[in-house]
Symmetry: C2
């Protein structure tokens, strides 16, 4: 597999094109070997709006491998589909939703066929995707689009391809049992197979990424991990059986650990290596609060459980600042850096 | 009110006496003007076990004011009650539970009478307290003991004296709506008066402590603070009415903010002042995960809502390492430092 990476442009009305152009301008060595899947005119506009002493030329390419023979300090674009004119910034637009989805599908297929080592996705807008029309409107977001492509490639149903989100930065990795549901619903839907599958996906993915078996911590659901059943029974009835099942497969996994200390213990700092390679978080904010605490620009997301490597920045389209030149490319740069680090060589 | 502070010894079988002795040895200037309410023999043993080049003498005092005429580099003890021999380390013991409770009650009464500026409580063991006999067994912990003494002093019922926990470090302050209950129960018992009262207590306490009206952030309960009701309705049905009621009293308080970004935004770092003075957290771990993330030794607790100043380290009795010389006094030292900083002068 060649070490080229595709960056999907994201929603043209959001900050995606801007942060991509900034990343190429600010980190040319890191970005060399990456190309953008997107719309030529939109990306050209983004490069022209850069506040840079030297211009960043846009180089059209026809296939992924071409990027390797390009010089650095240009922005290679694999042009997917012409928009009918540029879309306005900061507005939900079916056309830009549709183009964003097409770019993701193109990159997923290229990754599944082994033509690229992985993909980095700039943000899409969920409502623009919902307006994008068939076959894209039915997908909630990136994860579902990628899951469907991978399932089609493997000739299985998407339901047989469970995925989990990993959020990480230099200090901490967390994998979430559930994501965008009400907290009460996250608790009500917590069950042994779901926790077990999360541990298993984290184990398989991190074994491949780290090239050794990871040490996995399981966060409790309740204060003090339930304190022996005093503050909730989910640790006893759900987490311990899931942990036992994972251990029976030879997976290194902790007991349920008090949520308020497990992230601190797992954290690696410049002066101290963390005790665990990853923490399984029982709900969205349990994992995201510590990952984001030190600054959102340092984090990135990775989708685990798919037969392809995908990372993304941990922010959205930011319609409120799109086109203003204020968007920060740090998280995108981190997502590219991590895709390179985690790619099989 | 005199600027003397009482430190209650905590459970003699835990690390309380050890961290107190270490604090006096390591931070003599900070500790000058503080005395320990406890048992002479237990504290003498703790000082003798110190790994220090010079001995730390124990000085018995009869009343709080005496501490001001003592030289630094000694450990002043106001002796409350002789234990019948020292208690063994690391074991639940009714006698040490009883003594620990008596020390807390003594210090609470001294603070309520204005004889001391505040109290710093070393950890007690809940099960030892439960075995301590009448009148202490009925109290769940420090907070309940202090609440009862204050209510008696004010001649009101304890139910009319709602208190809240504040956890803080140099970077972040959080005040918790609920503490030691199952997460599901914390959600089920969330209501408008409880959230409103938490905001109000935070406002009153921090106005006094900071000598200006604080900027209060309210964390949402659900991912993305519910995203307009998509992921849960508690923000709309509970948090917004509580916020409206607080604003009607002139309190500066935010809308419900996404839990995964509010703590990051409130955090003050050496290079950036936080956007808020305090965050109202909807449940135990929502607040404790970010406060503890950077290291438990930097944090401290404060009880808000009482007519006395009380801080404490944010760890427990640590029976597993009691007597081994390994206990870290940093959080106790921070609790003393903060009591001094927050005390009315």
């Amino acid at each position: 597999m060649s070490q080229v990476f595709a960056i999907t442009m994201g929603d043209a009305a959001g900050i995606g094109p801007e942060i991509i152009a900034k990343a190429y301008a600010m980190a040319p060595e890191l970005m060399h070997g990456c190309f953008v899947v997107g719309d030529r005119a939109t990306l050209l506009q983004a490069t022209r709006r850069l506040d840079c002493p030297t211009a960043l030329p846009v180089a059209l390419i026809e296939n992924a491998q071409e990027v390797l023979i390009l010089p650095p300090r240009c922005l290679p674009v694999l042009h997917i589909q012409e928009l009918e004119g540029l879309v306005p910034y900061g507005q939900i637009n079916a056309k830009s939703g549709r183009l964003a989805a097409r770019c993701v599908v193109w990159a997923a297929q290229a990754a599944l066929r082994g033509e690229i080592a992985g993909l980095i996705t700039a943000p899409i807008h969920k409502q623009a995707l919902a307006q994008a029309g068939s076959p894209f409107s039915g997908f909630a977001g990136h994860t579902e689009l990628l899951q469907a492509e991978a399932a089609r490639f493997l000739n299985i149903s998407a339901a047989d391809l469970p995925v989990r989100m990993m959020l990480a930065n230099d200090e901490l990795r967390v994998v979430l049992v559930s994501i965008h549901v009400a907290l009460k619903q996250a608790i009500d839907s917590l069950n042994v197979p779901g926790v077990f599958k999360t541990i298993q996906i984290a184990h398989e993915s991190l074994s491949r990424l780290l090239k050794r078996a990871p040490h996995i911590a399981v966060a409790g659901l309740n204060p003090h991990a339930g304190e022996g059943g005093q503050f909730g029974l989910e640790e006893i009835n759900i987490l311990l059986p899931a942990i036992a099942a994972a251990r029976a497969q030879g997976i290194w996994v902790s007991e349920p650990i008090a949520p308020d200390t497990v992230f601190m213990r797992a954290r690696s700092s410049p002066v101290r290596k963390g005790e665990f390679d990853v923490v399984i978080a029982m709900y969205h904010d349990q994992g995201l609060i510590p990952v984001k605490y030190l600054g959102v620009e340092k984090g990135f997301n990775m989708t685990l459980g798919l037969p392809l490597l995908r990372t993304s920045p941990d922010h959205g389209t930011a319609f409120d600042i799109a086109g203003l030149g204020q968007a920060d490319p740090s998280s995108l740069i981190e997502a590219v850096r991590m895709a390179r680090q985690y790619a099989p060589s």
